[in-house]
Symmetry: C3
Subunit: 652 residues, 3 copies
């Protein structure tokens, strides 16, 4: 673990070599300690096949190192040079409509292409050999933003070959596959594995199990792709971390699985762009136009900290307007500072701004940096310096503690409900983030856990919403947990083969929960059913049978929340008011202490400190909590985009 | 004709053989008499080429027959097994964008592929030989939902070959085609038939006559495809009916033409899914969210009864939530009963629920059945039993009588206005259904007639809205009819070659109607022109010249309804209020007696009974009509989703 | 220059030859003087390769000439016959998704295909030889509506070959290209020109310089295509004009460059269809439903007059409802007259109605003509005759005078902001037309100038909004201009290589304007920032630094309009109110006299006359201006769709 510090993304290859020295000096002056380089530089490292030019990169690392900066070197595999396409014309991915996506931007490769994967191993080996002993080297980044621009799925011949092999390994016999997929339905039965096609360009929907297996296969290719580089980099320098920079609300591959060959989970945090591109309402987007969604960054900090085995970085932090949303507003003054503080509060070790200087050319020329293209400071330059100065006065020590509450996030469930929404707008992630935000509203720290947990010991409350299918381990974790559980809607409604379980959802033993989902009523946007006492259901309503106790019911008399001991089952998608009511109910049952937070304000407790951030566009006044001993940064008066840090009477 | 009774769709191949007996027994207990099987079972009937396994199907029929159930066997040609694609790789259809649609769902075949058509004949012959003497056999279904998922049109090499040949047969010489299509326009003249392409992937619109001929060609392929199976099945058992299950608002082929090789017209009625997927307004969809459009099922009953030469079944009846709309609401309690009663009132012989037991696997695992996946009864199970019980107390005898009113529905006109809307939103079907609903609102029974009528004798009122072109026969039927005629807008505005007729639309002799459409004013959504006295026009307004008498005119002084004797011509698309006014005007002129129906209530008279159904979400009170002699089912108080049946003083 | 007169588009090949005489006689009776023929007639001129049939066209010209009509002959190259595709199968263009667009409509050719270009030269030579000495011949039209249906861009092998060659010629070395495009970004560097692909079917955005060069290349192909025909036609008859008919709001190629091989700039004016297909608001579309946008035709008159070196025609004038918008309303009575008068006021020599008789067949059968399909007069027939009669009483002499105000329109800037909007909805043309309309609202005549101006001498005010990049010539014109300049937003924000300039935008010397754009704040639709004093900014807000004087600022204190001497810089996109305020401010500064125009009324002064037109749907009263000496047509009372012409005390 590194104590919170700043970093920056730097592209020495974009600037005259005689600018490097000044750049490095200014970085150090700002208080930056880490510099990521190299992840798009393949055409400069190997301008033609075998013509290796690593000298400039070593010189750049020399310069940076001289100024006390540590370097993260990115493998350049997200941008193979043009000559690579001459070598492997079939390495280009094919989209769902059957079209090859060509060279001329980035991420133009197919995860299933084993020849390209070998070339990635080769360049990684070359970098490891040339740079692993460089004194400035502090770690590696593999590739860049796996899956960005929808590149996880390819419908290429390479993918088809890989998929058939993967299926053969998984099922052993074609009969086993036919049974698992339910292929008797519509005479979809195969005679041989080589008859199976990718699930695109069909007349109507593929079998859901076919789709789900294709997603699993594709996800595995990304993990395998990363593993190749990980092995090489770790064998060169076992002591240095291998990191990947993930994205916001991106779920096309299983990040937990890929995290098995990473040492740190990092991600690229662009709160304003992420909100703009999200499917949040126009009203919500207007409210947080210049700040970003107040819970989204926090959620991903907590998610990727889990992916990273407790270690998390922000590899790219938005410093000003970006270029890739439809509209790209300027952040409120202070946001570049706020985002950094919030990240640290959630356990970030390094927050690295993207990028040092705005590039005047290329696709991202409208993306702000800490410097303008003319090398003058942009607003975030001073905000970064302020953060660096403030960090000197506060020491977060060690790893972040576990929260009182946890929510299970499952990539397969995201795929499952995309494949079979049944109710338009039903998404696993929406349920998970909704529950996360409801608990966080009371200042509770919430962990994001994978579905592979075998125990929930230590949590007061665990939520498992919209989960595709139980594993034996998870069912056992549920059975053995003595805290409060919030399960559903739709959790356990399928088997791993995407079929309805024999005893129907939620598919828990009657000793745990005597409830069966007999029927689903799915509703179009705009139709709501009020719940007695407040809130309403929409999108997804289950009609259940069984003997669990009814805690809440709707105006039609259908149970909405039922319980059996400490296990609660939610039968419907709810609006924010309902989800909050349910969270509040569980908090009260579990007797978990809460904080009072003004609108727009969020907090996270880490070690001896509680960090408050104000995402709102107006100032607020904090109510000090009994466990706090005054502010060590800011005060109870917290302005728009402000940060206040309270010291705790004793560390949590 | 069969007296009204129930059926169900059953997939013995989906369940362990030792469940069949119990299933059959329970079906019989419910009161079900007909069971459709087999239509997706090809991979079980012939798991590999030539390896025939009909034994299990015979055993299934044995079991069903033992419980007094009659069996309809579906030919499995909608789901050719995977090995068929190995045999005929080019049997896969090609979509409008030029992409082959592959194996992995259903309907993966091209109606133009003659090799596959021959394999369909082969399997049909095999079924006919093996099953036609089975005592439980009661009839056949050909294929399944021809055209579903947009499969009528294929832009494949097979379609291109077929189209060229079809054109050569139709036109004889390329010069004749050039003249018919108006190819002098834009130098589109061909030298040879083999230069003609399919009308897709063009720079801009194809000639409308080119498009229309392609639609006619494609429609003919579906009819030809059906005829092959019909001939085989009828020669095996001339006494058994051959049936096909059509769909709602599906018009890509001419069902009247296809009906020439059918004995019964059946259709698959999913009122809630159909409304969800329709282009009705959001307000209308919300009003009938759990009931479906109150006139849509009725319209199709009347349409397919005509297609079936007076015989009509519901081959698939929605029993609960479906899986294929964006959102799939649960029906109001009672709807599974109401829909059945309404179908019987419109002449249905069998109403067959889809399906017996919800399948826990495959694409339709969220589609309800009479049983849940765990074999417990779903709500429709009891509603079906109620219908079966009620039917015992009422005997509808014989064929349904002709209505007082008729409306002409023409598939070519649907195609024509899709090809050349001129006013966005102008659709033939909308006009036809609008007129249908306006007459039905007064309790009038309305027949749906094909454009091939040579006489309208016996009707009080006949409406011919939005008809592409007159045939000689139809023009003669119009001339000889002594009832009231409502024609237009746009009727007769083209020749059969999709050109404006020499004397302009409506192209009737001045002795019939001295009116010419001089100009068309087409209006974007939201723009309306009020009609003096009530209602308004929108979308399509014709400006006419001539000496017909003006009955209604708009605020700008343009004639809206004109008449000459008993022939009325409507010059515009109207909102509901205007269409109702026009219908009311004709009813008054024709002196046709009407009923008073509360909002949401509809009725149909059959034999000695008048069946009232309440599509509304609240109870209503019926006003008994003078020709009724009290209720034999229900009463004047009709609840939401309720059914009341009045006996007539004497049969109609 | 020809004194204002009428024309018509005629297709003798569509009608029996024995109708031609009557048609010609009636044209002459209406007062028509020019007839365009031939532009879609290739299949009749050359029904099979080399089989030339020009006799009928000569006979048609004979007939027309006998009635005193002058003929414009169109080269038929927009509609190559079907046999041409047999000869050049690869002449069909390929769309952005990689699909060849086939034969069956029009414009089915690729501008990059040199073989087809040679066949176009051949048919042009044949026409020139056969017709150039015909006494009725008055000029030529090349092809028809270059680029219509999105045909400027093709992604074909022919385009790829041409593009690579064009790049090699432009850059000389691949290294120069790599630098110019900024290819170091994302390792996009090429080793050879033959590695470069077209910028379609990529994983994400291409480099903006790559996109821009592809647009420049494609634009050049259109210009080269025209030049081939121009050379042939001019060498046959140097005295006759070569004309092309452009379109509304079409900017995929640089019309100024193409205009270098034209003698007259003509365009096809369909005001109602153009408004319907534009992205104006629904409210605006409803207001001018039957008139068209009141400034759009005027803007294009002024634009194409510049393209045509001072000479401008309307080659196709809407006469009634068209067929190609979603809905096609009938024009207000009088509009066919109003549009002609307005065109003449803006310098049109000939206004040629499209078309003589509505064709009853083919794609445009619903497009009105002066005659109905049954040869009866349509409403525009009489309006045309009225215009012809009125023209006899008024003589506009000579060329139109320069306006007081000018606005620079730049095709490259249109492409640039489409390639890189950064703010959704930012379009060069919107800014140009917005400024144009704001000045025109006061009755000021506004010229539309190309970005290649080297002097603005003679103008009071020149506006250069949203200009991609300065050329040396234009920067010098700005520096030397002693009138008032309105520049920005976004003007000069890039170099010609689509990079941010070293000194940032607006990239003018501090002696001209001491302002730098430090940051861009781009806003989604619906978000506005009020400007102190009225109006608001939206979409695009620049945050500037420097010492220019602040004239207007927004509620957040950001400068909106700054000035340095007579140069004004606008930092933001504004709503109509703000743009009007800015225009008014400059008018006041420049002390330019204005007129008072009622709502919906517009005017243009030409020679001794000022032509008022009323686009509004209600009558208005004009306020006579001091420089007027009464009305020579109409009066101060101007009805809806009315025209009034005032005589000036002395010519302008
Ligand atoms: Zn990305
Ligand atoms: Zn279907
Ligand atoms: Zn056009």
């Amino acid at each position: 673990m590194i104590s919170p510090t700043l970093g920056v993304c730097y592209y020495p290859e974009h600037w005259p070599e005689d600018w490097w020295e000044t750049d490095a000096r200014r970085m150090a002056e700002v208080g930056i300690r880490y510099v990521r380089i190299g992840e798009f530089a393949w055409s400069r490292l190997e301008p033609s096949p075998g013509d290796l030019r690593l000298d400039w990169m070593i010189r750049a690392m020399d310069v940076l190192g001289r100024h006390g900066l540590k370097v993260i070197v990115g493998t350049p595999t997200a941008t193979p040079p043009r000559w690579m396409i001459d070598k492997h014309p079939d390495m280009l991915a094919v989209d769902k409509t059957g079209r090859r996506k060509g060279f001329g931007s980035r991420r133009h490769y197919d995860f299933s292409h084993l020849g390209y994967r070998e070339d990635c191993a080769r360049i990684t080996r070359i970098l490891a050999e040339a740079l692993s002993s460089h004194p400035a080297l502090a770690g590696w980044q593999t590739d860049n933003e796996y899956g960005c621009h929808g590149t996880t799925y390819s419908y290429s011949p390479a993918a088809l070959d890989g998929f058939r092999l993967w299926l053969e390994r998984k099922y052993g016999s074609i009969d086993a596959l036919n049974v698992a997929w339910g292929n008797v339905f519509w005479s979809m039965e195969y005679n041989r594995f080589d008859q199976i096609e990718l699930p695109n360009l069909l007349v109507t929907d593929a079998a859901p199990a076919h789709e789900l297996d294709f997603r699993r296969y594709s996800s595995d290719q990304v993990a395998d792709f990363n593993a190749v580089q990980y092995e090489i980099l770790k064998s060169a320098r076992p002591d240095l971390p291998v990191i990947h920079n993930f994205m916001s609300r991106y779920s096309e591959f299983d990040h937990f699985k890929l995290g098995e060959t990473l040492d740190i989970g990092s991600w690229d945090s662009y709160p304003i762009g992420h909100l703009a591109k999200s499917d949040e309402t126009a009203e919500h987007k207007a409210l947080y136009l210049r700040q970003g969604d107040p819970d989204n960054a926090a959620f991903h900090h907590d998610l990727y900290r889990t992916v990273g085995h407790g270690r998390m970085w922000i590899m790219e932090q938005q410093p000003g307007p970006v270029n890739w949303a439809d509209s790209n507003p300027d952040p409120l003054p202070g946001m570049a500072r706020l985002w950094a503080w919030e990240a640290f509060a959630h356990g970030a070790e390094v927050v690295s701004y993207f990028r040092w200087r705005q590039a005047p050319f290329g696709q991202e020329q409208m993306h702000a940096g800490l410097l303008r293209p003319d090398s003058e400071p942009a607003p975030a330059y001073d905000e970064a310096r302020q953060v660096a100065d403030e960090l000197k006065t506060l020491t977060f020590d060690g790893a972040i503690a576990r929260g009182k509450v946890a929510v299970v996030f499952d990539y397969e469930s995201e795929w499952a409900w995309e494949i079979q929404p049944q109710a338009k707008g039903f998404r696993h992630g929406d349920h998970v983030r909704g529950v996360y935000a409801a608990f966080r509203k009371h200042g509770l720290d919430v962990d994001v856990l994978p579905p592979t947990m075998s125990s929930f010991e230590g949590y007061d409350i665990v939520a498992i919403p919209a989960l595709l299918a139980w594993t034996d381990a998870l069912r056992e974790a549920v059975a053995n947990f003595d805290g409060y559980l919030l399960i559903g809607p739709r959790s356990g409604s399928k088997t791993a083969n995407f079929a309805i379980p024999d005893r129907l959802g939620p598919d828990l033993g009657a000793n745990l929960l005597d409830t069966k989902v007999a029927r689903v009523d799915s509703l179009p946007e705009g139709i709501r059913v009020s719940v007695k006492g407040g809130g309403s259901t929409h999108i997804w309503r289950e009609k259940i049978v069984g003997n669990a106790e009814v805690v809440m019911e709707d105006e039609e008399g259908e149970p909405v929340l039922v319980s059996q001991g400490k296990l609660f089952y939610l039968t419907a998608s709810g609006d924010k008011a309902l989800v909050q009511r349910v969270a509040d109910y569980l908090i009260a049952e579990a007797d978990t202490p809460v904080l009072q937070l003004p609108a727009g304000v969020r907090c996270r407790t880490r070690g001896r400190f509680r960090v408050y951030v104000n995402y709102g566009a107006r100032a607020q006044t904090l109510t000090p909590s009994a466990d706090e001993a005054g502010y060590v940064l800011g005060s109870a008066e917290i302005e728009a985009a402000g940060v206040s840090v309270a010291a705790l009477a004793k560390a949590d």
